[in-house]
Assembly symmetry: C2
Homo-oligomer: 202 residues x 2
C-alpha cells in the first residue's frame, strides 16, 4: 500500500497484525480497520492488555506455564498431588485440562514437540528440566498427555526413554471414542484402539 | 477457564483478542500464546503500534479516511483532480484503489452501506457530508464505487438520488470480466453485464 493513502502508523499496525496466526495481509487490514472503529472499547484496551501481558507475564521456572506469578499459580496452589506430573505439549493443553477440572496434580509444559521437519530437537524443549524434577525425587507418576499426532507420540516415547529406570510410573492418556462422539465419524485407528481397550459392563 | 491455570492478565488478553474479526475463543487462546512466545519481537511492538494508532489516528473530517493528518494525506496531497470524488464504502476500498494507482481524484468514505437488516440508515453514513462537499461547488463528477452487492447498489442509488439536480455527473464502475478471470468461473450476471458492455476491437 502506498504511503499516500495510509500513514506509517496504520501500515505498521497492519504489518504486525498480519503476523498473527490465521491472519494474512487482507484480514489484517480488515482487523486494523475494525480496531480503529472501536478505538475506546477495543483498540486501546487491547493495546493495554498486550503491554500488561508483555511486561508482567513470564514462563514458570518450574513447569513452563505462563503466569504473572513465579512459580505459577498452579505450581504454588496447595491441595494438588505433588507426586503426579502431567506432561503437555503446550500451555493451551494445560488450560484444557484445567477447564476439565478433574486433574489435581502438577504439570510440565514441554513448549512443543520434537520435529525433524521443523528442526525441533529435545534440547529445544523443556525435557532436561522435567528430568531434573524427577531426579529431585518425590514424583510417583508421570502422565505423558501429548497430542495423538506422529510428532506428539514420538516425543512421548523419547521422554519415556529418558525417564526409564528412574523409578517413576509412566502413563499415557487412553485412546477411545470421545464422549458424545459418533462411531461413524471416527477414524479407523481410534475405533481399533477403543475396541482393544473395551471394558466390561460391570 | 479457571483462574487457577491462567492469570487475569492472560484471560483479559484472550477475551479482547476473541473480539477480533475471524477470531473465536479457541483461536484467541492460540494467538495469545503465540504473542507471549514472541514477546519482544511481536507482542510488545504490537501493543505499542496499537496504542500509537489509537492515540494518533483519526477520521478525516473531509473524506472519512483514517490518518494521523487532519485532513488526511490524500485530501492534502497536491496534483489530484479536485473536481472528481470517488465514493467508497469503507477505508479498505480506498486503500485498494490507491494500490491500483490509476485514480487521481479525491475520495469520500461512507463508512458502510445502508442495510435494513443491520439497521443502518443514511444518517449513520457520511452521506450528509458528501452532499455538503458537492453543494460547496467545484465538483464535476462523483464516481459511486460501491461494492456490487445488494446493499452497495441500493446505497449507490440512494446517493445518486440525493445528488440529482446538483449539476454533477454521477458515474459507476464498469461491470465485466476481471482481468485474468476465466469465463467459466464467472456468475451469469457478470457475464451478461460484460456482454452488454462489449467493446469494438478498434
Amino acid at each position: 500500500m502506498s504511503q499516500r493513502s495510509a500513514g506509517p502508523e496504520i501500515l505498521r499496525l497492519i504489518e504486525l497484525m498480519s503476523r498473527l496466526p490465521g491472519f494474512g495481509p487482507r484480514s489484517a487490514r480488515r482487523a486494523a480497520l475494525f480496531l480503529l472503529k472501536q478505538r475506546d472499547t477495543l483498540l486501546l484496551p487491547l493495546a493495554e492488555a498486550m503491554s500488561d501481558a508483555g511486561h508482567r507475564i513470564e514462563k514458570c521456572s518450574v513447569c513452563g506455564n505462563y503466569d504473572t506469578l513465579q512459580p505459577c499459580a498452579v505450581c504454588q496452589s496447595g491441595g494438588r498431588d505433588e507426586g503426579l506430573i502431567c506432561v503437555v505439549e503446550d500451555v493451551p493443553d494445560l488450560w484444557a485440562l484445567e477447564r476439565g477440572g478433574s486433574y489435581k496434580g502438577r504439570y510440565h509444559v514441554l513448549g512443543g514437540v520434537m520435529s525433524a521437519v521443523d528442526g525441533v530437537t529435545p534440547d529445544d524443549l523443556n525435557i532436561p528440566s522435567l528430568i531434573s524434577r524427577v531426579d529431585a525425587g518425590g514424583i510417583r507418576e508421570v502422565i505423558l498427555a501429548l497430542n495423538a499426532t506422529f510428532e506428539g507420540q514420538n516425543t512421548a516415547h523419547y521422554v519415556a526413554d529418558q525417564l526409564a529406570g528412574k523409578g517413576v510410573q509412566i502413563t499415557y492418556l487412553a485412546h477411545g471414542v470421545p464422549v458424545g462422539g459418533e462411531l461413524d465419524h471416527l477414524d479407523d485407528g481410534t475405533l481399533a484402539a477403543a475396541l482393544r481397550a473395551r471394558r466390561s459392563s460391570e
